[in-house]
C-alpha cells in the first residue's frame, strides 16, 4: 500500500455543509438564551423527540449533540474530568460522562439545581456560552439501557427535583415468525405501545407548560421534518453514482437538521440545497474525494473528535466512505410512514427502527441492501469503546457481509467523544489490510 507516500489528498466536503454550522449555532444560541426569554428547557438524549417539545414552545438540550459539540470544539475535557472526579469511570458511555460532567460542574458551582435561578451548567468562558439547567427531562432511549440510565442519573444528580418522563422503547427482536422490517405482530404492538406513551408524554408536557398541547403546531413541524427527511434520503440515494458525490462524513455533519435543529423552512431549504449540490456534482462528475478507487461502508457511531481527520485519511487512501449505518438507517429515514394529520405513529416507527434498535437479523438485511445499492467494496466497523449499543452486533454484521457479499472488513477501535481510545497506527494498519484484500479481489476479477 503506497497511499501514505503520495501527496496528501483531502476530502472534497460538500459546500452546503457550512450552512449547517449556522443552523447549529443559532440553535445553541436559542438554547443559551432560553431562560432569559422565559422558556422552559428540557434535557433529553437519544432519538429525535424534539418536535414534541418544539410544538409546546419548550427549548431542548440534546445530550449527545451537546457532548459532540464540546468534543468538536475541544472543550470536552473539563466536563469529562468533573465527571471522573465524582467517580464516573472511563468505561462509561463518553457522551453520558461528558453530559453528566456538565451537570456536576453545575452542582460544583453551587447553583440551585432546579428552578429558574439556575442558569449555567457549563463554566462560562470555556465555550464562552451557557447551557441552561433543565426544567424537565424526557427519556426515550431506544435499545440502550445506558441511555435510559443516563437520564436517570441526571435526574438524580439534580436532586430528583426536576420532573422526568420515561418512555420505554421496545427492542425490535422478533420472537414470532411473522417478524419483518417494519412489520409483524410484535412490531405493530410495539408501535401502538409507543404511540400510547408519546401521547402520555404530551400530557406531561401540558402539565409542565400549563397550556393545551398544540397538535396543529406538531403537524406543521413534522411536515418540515418529513420533507427534510425525504430530501436527505433522496440526496443520499443519489450517491450510488460513481464517483459518489459525497461521503458518509458529509452526511454525519448534516445530521443536526434531522436530529435536533427546530423543524421549520430552514431544514427543508438546507436539504434542498444539499440535494442540488449532489445533483450538480453528479453532472460534473465530481466526487466526495479527489479520486475514488474504493467504495466503503461505515458501520458504527461517529468519532466526533476525529471527523475531519478521518474524512481526509480515507480520501488519502482513495477510499470513499459512501454510506453508513448511523447516517442511512436513522434520522427520519422512514419519512414515508409519517401521517401529518396524526404524526405520532410515524414518529414511533422512526424511533423503533433507528440504527441500534433492530435485532441483528433485521439490521443485517438493511445493511446488505445498502451495500448492494451503493456498490460497496469493503466495510469499516468502528468499535466505539464506550458505546456498546453500536458495537453489539458488529461481529455478526462483519460475518454476514463477508459471507454473503464477500466484502473485506476492517474493525477499528475508537470512541464517540473520548479521544484516548483511538490509536491511529492500529487504525492505519487495519484499513491498509482491508484495502489490500479489496485489491486482491479485484485482481482476480471478483466484482463487488
Amino acid at each position: 500500500m503506497n497511499a501514505i507516500a503520495q501527496p496528501l489528498k483531502k476530502a472534497n466536503r460538500l459546500k452546503t455543509s457550512s450552512l449547517n454550522n449556522k443552523m447549529v449555532n443559532d440553535y445553541w444560541t436559542d438554547v443559551f438564551n432560553a431562560k432569559a426569554e422565559g422558556k422552559l428547557v428540557c434535557w433529553y438524549e437519544g432519538v429525535a423527540i424534539n418536535p414534541l417539545m418544539q410544538a409546546a414552545d419548550i427549548r431542548w438540550v440534546h445530550g449527545e449533540a451537546w457532548s459532540a459539540l464540546l468534543a468538536a470544539r475541544n472543550n470536552e475535557q473539563e466536563a469529562q474530568t468533573a465527571a471522573e472526579h465524582r467517580g464516573y469511570m472511563k468505561e462509561l458511555c463518553s457522551y453520558a460522562r461528558t453530559h453528566i460532567g456538565c451537570g456536576v460542574l453545575a452542582q460544583n458551582r453551587g447553583v440551585e439545581a432546579s428552578g429558574s435561578s439556575f442558569s449555567d451548567a457549563l463554566g462560562a468562558g470555556k465555550l464562552g456560552e451557557r447551557i441552561p439547567a433543565p426544567d424537565m427531562f424526557i427519556s426515550a432511549y431506544p435499545y440502550c439501557s445506558t441511555g435510559q440510565q443516563w437520564d436517570e442519573m441526571l435526574f438524580r444528580l439534580f436532586g430528583k427535583k426536576v420532573p422526568i418522563f420515561n418512555i420505554s422503547v421496545p427492542w425490535v427482536w422478533g420472537n414470532k415468525p411473522d417478524a419483518i422490517y417494519l412489520g409483524g405482530t410484535e412490531f405493530n404492538e410495539a408501535k401502538q405501545y409507543m404511540v400510547k406513551q408519546l401521547r402520555a408524554c404530551t400530557k406531561f408536557i401540558e402539565e409542565q407548560t400549563g397550556k393545551k398541547y398544540n397538535w396543529d403546531s406538531l403537524g406543521e413541524i413534522m411536515s418540515y421534518t418529513k420533507t427534510a427527511g425525504r430530501l436527505r434520503m433522496e440526496a443520499m440515494e443519489l450517491c450510488n453514482a460513481k464517483p459518489a458525490p459525497a461521503s458518509f462524513f458529509d452526511w454525519t455533519t448534516s445530521l443536526a437538521p434531522v436530529n435536533f435543529i427546530p423543524g421549520g423552512p430552514g431544514i427543508v431549504e438546507y436539504f434542498e440545497k444539499t440535494k442540488a449540490e449532489i445533483v450538480q456534482r453528479i453532472a460534473d462528475n465530481e466526487g466526495g474525494i479527489p479520486q475514488e478507487k474504493y467504495r466503503l461502508f461505515w458501520d458504527g457511531i461517529m468519532n466526533w473528535n476525529k471527523i475531519g481527520w478521518l474524512a481526509n485519511k480515507f480520501a488519502n487512501y482513495d477510499a470513499n466512505m459512501v454510506a453508513g449505518r448511523y447516517t442511512h438507517m436513522g434520522f427520519w429515514h422512514e419519512h414515508e410512514s409519517i401521517d401529518l394529520n396524526d404524526p405520532l405513529e410515524g414518529m414511533a416507527v422512526n424511533y423503533l427502527v433507528c440504527p441500534i434498535n433492530l435485532s441483528a437479523p433485521l439490521m443485517i438485511e438493511q445493511i446488505i441492501k445498502l451495500c448492494k445499492h451503493y456498490e460497496i467494496d469493503g466495510m469499516v466497523l468502528h468499535a466505539a469503546r464506550t458505546c456498546r449499543a453500536f458495537s453489539n452486533p458488529q461481529y455478526l454484521i462483519a460475518d454476514a457481509v463477508q459471507k454473503r457479499l464477500g466484502l473485506p472488513v476492517a474493525m477499528i477501535e475508537g470512541d464517540m467523544v473520548d479521544e484516548s481510545f483511538y490509536k491511529d497506527e492500529l487504525v492505519n494498519s487495519r484499513i491498509e489490510a482491508m484495502l489490500e484484500s479489496i485489491e486482491a479481489r479485484k485482481r482476480v476479477g471478483i466484482a463487488a
Binding site: G87, W150, M153, N175, A383, R388
Partner: protein, 390 residues
C-alpha cells in the same frame, strides 16, 4: 446427610450448572429453559413442566467467543457468548429472557445466531418501574411469556400448576432468607462461599430438590451451636449477573472480614421478594417484579421510588456491618453509573467502603489482599473510635 455432604451437593450444581441441568433432563425427561439474569421469573417455565436454569458465567478462559464479542464487555456477557459458541447450550430447549442491559442484548443476538434451532425468545421487561403503566406492561410481558411457553409445550399452562410453582419458589426463597437471618444474627456460621453456592445452586437446580436439601441443612444447622466469631463485620454489595469469584470471597474472610450480609444477585437480590400465592398468577408476578426493586433496588432499573444508596446504608445498619466492600464487575455499566451515588452517600455518612473491580480473567487475588487488609484495618479503627464515642 452431614453438613459437608449437603454443601457438596449444592456445590456440584453451582459449579457445574449445565452438567447438572443436563443430568436432570436425562433422568426426568423435562425440557430445560435457560434464561439470562437478573429479573426473569422461573415460576412460569416451572409450571410449564420445564426446568428453568439461569445461565451462569463459567470459569473457562474465553476463546472462541473472542471472535463474536469485543473484549470490553463484562465477564458475564463474554462468557455466555463463549459458551454459546462452544456449543454448551445446545442441549437447552429454549432460552427466554427479559432484561435489557445493553450488554446482555449484544450477547443475546450472538446466542440466537449460534443456536439456530433453539427458541431464543425475548420478553422485554419494562425497566422504568414507576410509570403509571409499569405494572400493566409487566403483566402483558408475563402473558406473552406464558403464551410463548404454551406454544413450546403444545398445551395451556394450568393455573393451579402455576400457583403450585409460585408456592414452591416462595418456599425456596423463604428457606434461603432464613439462612441469611441466622447468619446475620450470628446463630449460624455460613461463609460467603457457602452462601453463594446455596443461592447459585437454587438458580440452576430443580426447586423441590433444592428445598429438600435446604430443609436438611437447616435441621443440621439448628442442631449445632454457632461459635462466635471475631473480626470485622462486612457487607458485600454489587456483582450482578455473575457470581463473584470464590477466591475473592475467601480472601476477604482470610483477611479477617466476616461477611454478614449482602445485596449480591447471587445472594439476597435473588431471594428478596415472594410472589402472592393467591389471585391471578400473572398479576402476582407483575406485582412481584415491581416490589422486588423496592426491596433491593437494582441499578439496571430506573425507579423514582427507590434509592440504592439509602437502601445500602439502612441494610448496613440492620446487619450491624462495620464496612462495605463493593464488588464491581469490570465494564458493568449500570454499576459504574450508580457507584458515584453510593460513594457520595457513604462518604457523607462516614461509612467506610472499598471498591474492588473484578474480571473474568482474574484468578489470583493476592494483589488485592493488601487493599482489603488495609481497608479492614481502617474499619477496625473507626469502629473502635465509634464505640469509645458511644
Amino acid at each position: 446427610m452431614s453438613i459437608d455432604a449437603i454443601y457438596s451437593a449444592f456445590e456440584r450444581a453451582a459449579e457445574q450448572p449445565l452438567e447438572s441441568a443436563k443430568a436432570w433432563k436425562q433422568t426426568h425427561g423435562t425440557r430445560v429453559v435457560g434464561s439470562f439474569p437478573m429479573h426473569f421469573p422461573g415460576e412460569l417455565a416451572h409450571a410449564a413442566g420445564c426446568l428453568p436454569v439461569i445461565l451462569q458465567e463459567n470459569h473457562e478462559p474465553i476463546t472462541v467467543g473472542h471472535g463474536m464479542i469485543y473484549p470490553f464487555y463484562c465477564g458475564f456477557t463474554r462468557s455466555v457468548v463463549d459458551q454459546a459458541c462452544k456449543g454448551d447450550y445446545d442441549f437447552l430447549d429454549a432460552i427466554m429472557f427479559g432484561d435489557h442491559c445493553v450488554q446482555v442484548l449484544g450477547a443475546a443476538d450472538v446466542v440466537r445466531a449460534k443456536l439456530p434451532n433453539t427458541r431464543v425468545h425475548f420478553y422485554q421487561l419494562i425497566s422504568s418501574m414507576s410509570d403509571p403503566w409499569s405494572l400493566g406492561r409487566a403483566r402483558e410481558t408475563f402473558l406473552n411469556l406464558k403464551e410463548g411457553l404454551e406454544e413450546m409445550i403444545g398445551h395451556p399452562i394450568d393455573e393451579e400448576a402455576t400457583h403450585a410453582s409460585i408456592r414452591l419458589f416462595n418456599k425456596n426463597r423463604q428457606l434461603l432468607r432464613k439462612l441469611y437471618d441466622l447468619r446475620r444474627a450470628g446463630d449460624a456460621r455460613i461463609t460467603a462461599k457457602q452462601m453463594q453456592i446455596l443461592v447459585k445452586s437454587s438458580m440452576v437446580m430443580d426447586k423441590a430438590a433444592h428445598n429438600d436439601l435446604l430443609g436438611r441443612l437447616l435441621a443440621e444447622i439448628e442442631k449445632t451451636k454457632a461459635i462466635s466469631q471475631r473480626g470485622m463485620r462486612v457487607y458485600l454489595s454489587g456483582h450482578f449477573c455473575q457470581s463473584p469469584k470464590i477466591g475473592v470471597l475467601d480472601m476477604i474472610e482470610e483477611c479477617g472480614g466476616i461477611v454478614v450480609d449482602d445485596d449480591l444477585y447471587h445472594g439476597q437480590r435473588y431471594i428478596s421478594t415472594d410472589v402472592d400465592e393467591t389471585g391471578d398468577p400473572l398479576d402476582a408476578l407483575a406485582k412481584w417484579y415491581l416490589e422486588r426493586n423496592l426491596k433491593v433496588p437494582c441499578p439496571t432499573r430506573v425507579d423514582q421510588n427507590a434509592d440504592w444508596e439509602n437502601y445500602l446504608l439502612d441494610a448496613m445498619e440492620r446487619s450491624r456491618a462495620d464496612g462495605m466492600i463493593v464488588l464491581m464487575a469490570k465494564f458493568c455499566e449500570p454499576h459504574m453509573y450508580y457507584y458515584p451515588e453510593i460513594k457520595e452517600a457513604f462518604e457523607k455518612r462516614g461509612v467506610p467502603h472499598l471498591l474492588i473491580e473484578t474480571e473474568h480473567e482474574l484468578n489470583s487475588f493476592e494483589g488485592l489482599r493488601t487493599r482489603v487488609e488495609t481497608f479492614l484495618e481502617v474499619v477496625k479503627r473507626q469502629s473502635a473510635a465509634r464505640r469509645i464515642a458511644a
